[in-house]
């Protein structure tokens, strides 16, 4: 659109059903022309945009025509059919801006709800972003109404000062992720009480969690399926191992593991998780590093010092390998939740078409994939019923690397507060006593609220809403906490400003 005009192949129709006259549609700043291919045809058009009141178009779809309908003041309309939707969209955008420009010129000062444009030509995406921003932020909308529609500022001027907002907003949207659920699913076996059968229910999300928390199981899945066993066999075996654990009978577990190599993989302690822990410990904050103490502890040479509080374990060594505690699992689970996930599994799984067809080809892909740390692939979806009938489709999710911290805070202001706080804890850390020192300048711009009353009202409403919502999951809870926290911090700022005069 840089040259100020658009020329596309189109068919001019008098009605939707009409086959239409093939020709070329040309649009300039002020008017549009239609030149039929057949020079003898009378369907030649030359219409000023000033007269065009609005435009309609068909939704993009496989079996629909790419239509554009321009309605004119006098009640008539012009329908064009394009060969492709992209042609149509180019024209549509051009028309939209052209109508706006000519409309502005024609009826200067008159109120219109659509965003008026002057010399700037905006892409459709840009427009949408602005509109969404206005919809989300009532303050901004009010301001926009006052300034732009009131004629104080032009649209371009209004947004020029808020460019950052537009950019940030876009980037924030794309980064916001739904976190993992806080609670740990424990695959609870259910038995019908009559036969000797125990049933396990595995859902895609549970499997995802198992893979994330137990890298050894994931590795085993990659190794065994499908070369050695089918998925069904794999998960049956896994469930059997889980069941053995839940009975807490270490001796039986050890005996079973001795007989079956594959089962042993699930029953043994997770070496991969352990080595990962050893790797991570090097990056731990030195003020937390309790491992360093071990290195300095001479009273606990083997057999020195006093043993108190039964801290010594009874270790009957051959079985120690198969002992696994709930406490460890809890820690591991929480760590995984904290690291976050790559994609919302439930949502994804619901979109996964179930069927055996995809299974084989995807499985091949899966095995070919390199397994990295940040690689979250997603393997299968089992039916909600018996483990027995797996209708799994295997799919691979995006390879995503994310920062480990993620603010799950809905409100931009709270994000700023959270940032400010983490900057504080990062820089000052434990080294300084905060209230003995004058408050530091923050690395982030201080929060500035024009109408505090408005802000607090909305905050309160938020808090009440999320408190009242009893079904609120972890995320909701988190929001209410962080707003409360933000509120407290804000109060601190105000009091600081007060005390410092």
């Amino acid at each position: 659109m840089t040259d100020g005009q658009v020329i596309k192949r189109a068919r001019y129709k008098s009605s939707v059903k009409d086959f239409g006259v093939p020709g070329v549609l040309k649009m300039t700043r002020e008017r549009f022309f239609f030149m039929p291919n057949d020079p003898k045809s009378s369907a030649r058009l030359n219409v000023e945009f000033r007269l065009v009141k609005g435009h309609k178009f068909t939704k993009e779809g496989s079996n629909k025509q790419a239509l554009l309908n321009l309605t004119v003041d006098q009640g008539g309309n012009y329908i064009f059919e394009f060969d492709t939707f992209s042609d149509r969209d180019a024209c549509r955008e051009y028309v939209a801006t052209a109508i706006a420009v000519s409309g502005e010129a024609g009826r200067a000062g008159s109120e219109r709800s659509a965003a008026p444009l002057q010399d700037e030509q905006l892409s459709h995406a840009e427009m949408e972003r602005r509109i969404r921003l206005l919809q989300e932020d009532s303050e901004l909308q009010k301001l926009h109404k006052q300034l732009v529609i009131g004629g104080v500022l032009s649209e371009a001027e209004f947004w020029a000062t808020r460019k950052k907002l537009l950019d940030e907003n876009a980037s924030r949207k794309s980064k916001q992720q739904v976190g993992l659920r806080n609670d740990m699913f424990h695959v609870k076996p259910s038995s019908d009480g009559q036969s000797n059968k125990v049933t396990f229910n595995l859902t895609p999300e549970i499997i995802h969690q198992i893979f994330a928390e137990k890298p050894a199981v994931r590795q085993a899945f990659l190794n065994f399926v499908p070369s050695k066993m089918t998925e069904k066999e794999f998960w049956t075996k896994y469930s059997r191992a889980e069941y053995l654990h839940s009975t807490k009978n270490v001796v039986v577990a050890a005996a079973e593991a001795a007989e079956d190599d594959e089962l042993a993989v699930f029953l043994k302690q997770d070496d991969m998780a352990a080595s990962e822990a050893r790797r991570k410990i090097r990056r731990v904050d030195p003020t937390l590093d309790m491992e360093a103490d071990e290195g300095d502890d001479y009273t606990h040479l083997p057999d020195h010092g006093l043993s108190c509080d039964g801290s010594k374990d009874v270790t009957d060594s051959p079985y120690e390998l198969y002992r696994r505690s709930l406490l460890q699992e809890l820690n591991r689970h929480a760590a995984v939740v904290l690291e976050g996930r790559a994609i919302d599994v439930l949502e994804f799984a619901s979109r996964v078409p179930l069927g055996g067809l995809a299974l084989l080809c995807c499985k091949a892909l899966l095995i070919a994939l390199p397994v990295g740390l940040g690689l979250y692939f997603w393997a299968m979806s089992c039916s909600k019923g018996n483990l027995g009938c797996i209708l799994g489709g295997v799919h691979i999710l995006d390879v995503l690397l994310f920062p480990t911290h993620r603010c799950g805070v809905g409100d931009t202001r709270s994000v700023a507060e959270a940032l400010a706080r983490s900057a504080w804890t990062g820089y000052l850390g434990w080294q300084e006593i905060d209230d003995l020192q004058a408050p530091r300048d923050l690395a982030v711009a201080p929060l500035c609220i024009k109408d505090p009353r408005d802000y607090f009202d909305s905050q309160q409403a938020n808090a009440i809403k999320s408190l009242g919502d009893t079904l609120a999951g972890a995320k909701q809870m988190k929001c209410s906490l962080s707003t409360a926290e933000a509120y407290g911090l804000l109060r601190d700022y105000i009091s600081e400003i007060k005390t410092s005069g």
């Binding site: 424990h186 103490d293 801290s311 809890l330 809870m477 962080s482």
Partner: protein, 758 residues
């Protein structure tokens, strides 16, 4: 800020100071002036460490003619790092104001495991194997061989350090362990040996308690410290336990089996030397005849854990004739191990004093007290002679010799207890022979005697008159400070009943009651939905925590808790616990919120701070009494009653309450911080228990908060959190000043200070 305390100009790195910090410094200065020991209790979260450091360094600066050295003892390595970080801040400030004259050398000292930079050595699993791996590269005889034979590996960092000889010094500055490693890497010098060497010249040394209290370590590291030193024991509420642990040894079946293996290995070595290098063994014999148990000054790299007995008690005599020859000594050890094996086979619990034990050894296997006493030195000499470098393999025999030396040296304050099985698991035979020390004053006595001033300080030293008795010393200053608060930023509560109004307790008869477990669970569940950010829970023991967490898991309470906050747990695996803590902090930082389950007396309770948003609430589930049926504890109680006239019940309560106070005290860091503390046990409401809590907690424990049920506690928590969110005046406003500026201090001079404070 800069101010005068009498004749000392104090440089303090902040713009403001708390009144109690000032008072603390005044008391500390008086103790330094008097060159005596002192005992100071100041609430956590009032900046003890910085006050201490700032006064002592300033004291040295204003008296340059008579510089004193500061030996700062911490319980853990991470506290060491914290202290050094504060010192860094202070040092920067002093340099700014005084210029280069204020330069000091301060460093942290730790084991090879934490300081080594040689990748092939430091990858070893635990401290002992790192030590051994280092010795394999740096022992004098290995290096001698390496010169002749280039195929024998040596440590380049150590060689570089040795080559640099007297040039290898640390320039002035403050060095954390990390800094030392970085410096070592830069220069290519071994940081461990550099630090060991520089300790003699440093103005400030920060290290672990054991480097002073445990004779095995103190003997090699703190031997040459000057008398003009101030020794500070920070967080010293557990110092008596550290002291008695330093002098206690236990022997198990595995130890004896290992020792037997060690002995046969050594006898093989002796045979080998006899065949190849008989002169060496003869030389050792001659040296022992001359009365030199030690070879004099060993090269730094050859030193080893020193004698387990206290320096004053080590005989400066020749090694007795009957253990001078290596074979004879080995046969003595064999007999000793055999005797101990026999003793472990007992079916009943036995308890005796060292005198009867030694007499019985003498009667049965013919080893007299003097031979026992020399066991450790003789072993040490033999191992050097045999050029044994894989010392981690020989820990078992070393333990046996430690035991022998201690039992041969001390006649009182110890007892030997043999238990065929653990009281709690009578069906599993696990025989153990323990030599346990009951008298904390033994280990700390040389410290009090050697150094000019010893400062014992902590947030919990109540009752403050008990410590001088336990440690047997006379403090010149003994003070307990209260906390002047701008607002009531701590909120202690005693919860006696659950939501169903039934009493909650970890008392023995109620402990496994499902009702109590459920009530505790409900309490936590209510709290996680009310309190923002971090919550810390302390349980009375690992086994109790394990049990209750499993039962919460089965009843679904845990799942409900996890709907609100993530759960992290301290386990007995240090690596896992450290990672859990790290993740816990992350969860608090990002606003997700978390609960940390920990154990009183555990490693986390000992030294991790849960300040600011890392801990808005601490719940102490139960009273952390020691396991009262433990024979060792009973023996210690008996000893305390007989020697110090301390009643058993009193001591147990004192010990439990100091642990509880220690746990809950970790939430507060400064006066701007706030936190709640819930003591969830009906026994806390009794006066005899409660009164043992430190004054700064008691003064905030209102009568209305002494007998709460869960719903009332939740209500109070809501109110408290709302109140804390309100703005307030940090300086204390019109009433008592809680934050002093330089002008305030100048205005009041020295005269009317105490009126202002109290």
């Amino acid at each position: 800020m800069k101010f005068q305390i009498e004749d000392v100009t104090v440089y303090f790195p902040y713009d403001h100071i708390y009144p109690e910090q000032y008072a603390y410094m005044v008391e500390l200065k008086r103790a330094l002036d008097a060159k005596g020991h002192c005992l100071l209790e100041m609430p956590t979260g009032t900046g003890k460490t910085i006050a201490l450091l700032s006064l002592i360094t300033s004291y040295t600066l204003s008296k340059p003619s008579n510089p004193i050295k500061l030996l700062y003892c911490t319980r853990t390595v991470h506290e060491m790092e914290k202290t050094l970080a504060e010192l860094k801040l202070l040092h920067k400030y002093q340099i700014q104001h005084l210029g280069p004259a204020a330069r000091i050398l301060a460093l942290g000292l730790s084991s090879r495991k934490n300081l080594c930079i040689n990748p092939s050595v430091v990858s070893a699993e635990n401290r002992d194997s790192v030590d051994a791996a280092c010795r394999k590269l740096t022992a004098s005889w290995v290096r001698a061989l390496a010169i002749e034979n280039p195929n024998i590996p040596s440590c380049e960092f150590f060689e570089n350090y040795e080559k640099a000889a007297s040039d290898a010094v640390l320039p002035p500055g403050v060095y954390t362990l990390q800094d030392l490693r970085v410096f070592g890497k830069e220069k290519g010098w071994c940081p461990y040996f550099l630090a060991r060497h520089m300790v003699q010249f440093a103005n400030v040394v920060v290290y672990s308690y054991q480097y002073l209290l445990d004779p095995k370590v103190a003997g090699i590291i703190s031997k040459e410290m000057q008398r003009e030193s101030v020794v500070v024991f920070d967080e010293a509420h557990n110092i008596d336990n550290v002291c008695i642990e330093a002098l206690s040894v236990s022997v198990r079946k595995q130890t004896l089996e290992g020792a037997t293996r060690n002995l046969s290995k050594m006898s093989q070595e002796i045979e080998r030397f006899k065949a190849t290098d008989a002169g060496r063994l003869r030389a050792e014999y001659n040296r022992l005849v001359d009365g030199l148990a030690q070879r004099g000054n060993l090269p730094l790299a050859d030193t080893w854990l020193a004698n387990p007995a206290l320096p004053d008690d080590i005989l400066k005599e020749a090694v007795p004739g009957n253990i001078r020859r290596a074979e004879h000594f080995l046969s003595v050890l064999r007999r000793l191990v055999q005797y101990l094996k026999g003793r472990l086979q007992t079916e009943n619990v036995e308890k005796e004093g060292p005198v009867t034990f030694v007499a019985s050894i003498n009667a049965q296997v013919g080893i007299d007290q003097k031979m026992l006493k020399f066991c450790y030195d003789r072993l040490h000499s033999l191992m050097l002679t045999l050029e044994i470098t894989d010392t981690d393999e020989f820990l078992h025999i070393q333990t046996i010799c430690d035991f022998a030396t201690l039992v041969g040296t001390y006649t009182r304050g110890f007892s030997i207890i043999i238990e065929p099985f653990d009281e709690r698991m009578p069906h599993i035979p696990d025989p153990v022979l323990q030599l346990s020390c009951h008298d904390a004053s033994l280990a700390i006595k040389p410290v009090f005697e050697r150094f000019q001033s010893v400062v014992i300080t902590s947030g919990t030293l109540s009752p403050i008159d008990l410590y001088p008795r336990l440690l047997n010393f006379n403090p010149v200053v003994s003070r307990s400070f209260t906390m002047s608060l701008t607002r009531d930023c701590i909120c202690p509560m005693v919860l006696t009943r659950g939501s169903d109004q039934l009493p909650v307790s970890t008392k023995f008869d109620l402990r496994s009651d499902p009702g109590v477990e459920r009530n505790y669970g409900r309490l936590l569940l209510e709290m996680v939905s009310v309190v923002p950010d971090g919550i810390v829970c302390f349980f009375v023991s690992y086994s109790y925590m394990d049990g209750i967490v499993n039962s919460w898991h089965e009843s679904g309470i845990l799942k409900d808790i996890m709907q609100h906050k993530l759960v992290f747990i301290e386990t007995q695996d240090v690596v896992e616990t450290t990672l859990a803590l790290d993740n816990y902090r992350k969860a608090c930082d990002c606003g997700r919120g978390a609960v940390f389950f920990s154990v009183a007396r555990g490693k986390v309770a000992e030294g991790i701070d849960f300040d600011r948003h890392y801990g808005r609430l601490v719940i102490m589930f139960g009273v952390p009494f020691q396991y009262t049926l433990s024979r060792i504890l009973l023996a210690r109680l008996e000893y305390l009653r007989e020697t110090f006239q301390i009643k058993e019940g009193d001591f147990l309560t004192f010990d439990a309450l100091r642990q509880a106070a220690q746990c809950v005290g970790r939430v507060i860091r400064s006066k701007a911080d706030y936190g709640m503390m819930i003591f969830a046990d009906k026994r806390y409401s009794r006066h005899d228990k409660r009164s043992k809590l430190p004054g700064w907690i008691l003064s905030h424990l209102r009568d209305a908060h002494l007998n709460l049920s869960t719903d009332m506690a939740v209500h109070i928590a809501r109110e408290f959190l709302r109140k804390m969110a309100q703005p307030y005046d940090k300086t204390g406003g019109s009433g008592k000043k809680t934050l002093l500026s330089q002008e305030d201090l100048e205005k009041m001079g020295n005269g009317n200070f105490s009126d202002m404070l109290f």
